[in-house]
Amino acid sequence: MNFKNSGKGDSNILQNQFTAYLQVALRRRKRNYLAKQALYLNREISEEDTGPLPIIAQDFEAELSYEFQVENDVLLQALAQLSERERMFLLAHVLDEVGFDVLAQERGLSYKGTATAYYRLCEKIRKYMEGKK
């Protein structure tokens, strides 16, 4: 249905003013939305990007000392022993530097409980690695 707005009268003036106000708000919202989308896209590692990664890893490993490689393998095995949830938790804290307070909030635990869980995990890995050496 079409609405003819002559720009005369209270109602039409109000509509025009509101439309102008709305257009500015919508444009800003769209700009923010697109900026956020672009940010997410940059952070995401697309499937095409994962292609050359193993080659880089191989080059990197070749330069490492044998001792470090063995330790690294044991660490990987130790990490593989953990459950998916434990691994994500550990990696989030160690690699992504997510604080205990944030992790506690995500998991619905207390700060102390999260810290204890983290140190228990570290101990678990240490014991596994010592056993394998």
């Binding site: 109602s11 109000l14 509509q15 709305l22 257009q23 708000a25 919508l26 919202r29």
Partner: protein, 59 residues
């Protein structure tokens, strides 16, 4: 048909039907704004609908 001012004041007072009527009137604008490179973005459309409702409250 109710004029825009009456409709707007009702929507501002929290009348859901009036809000819906305004949303319907502005739908062509929202749909146009929800196009990104000629493709309709459903999430963006939802965000714009929320923006419209907010604008009714804040205008």
């Amino acid at each position: 048909m109710m004029n825009f001012k009456e409709l707007f004041l009702q929507a501002k007072a929290g009348d859901l039907q009036a809000e819906e009527a305004i949303l319907e009137r502005y739908q062509p604008l929202l749909l146009k704004m929800a196009l990104v490179n000629g493709v309709f973005d459903e999430d963006l459309y939802q965000e714009l609908c929320i923006t419209l409702i907010r604008c009714i409250r804040t205008f």
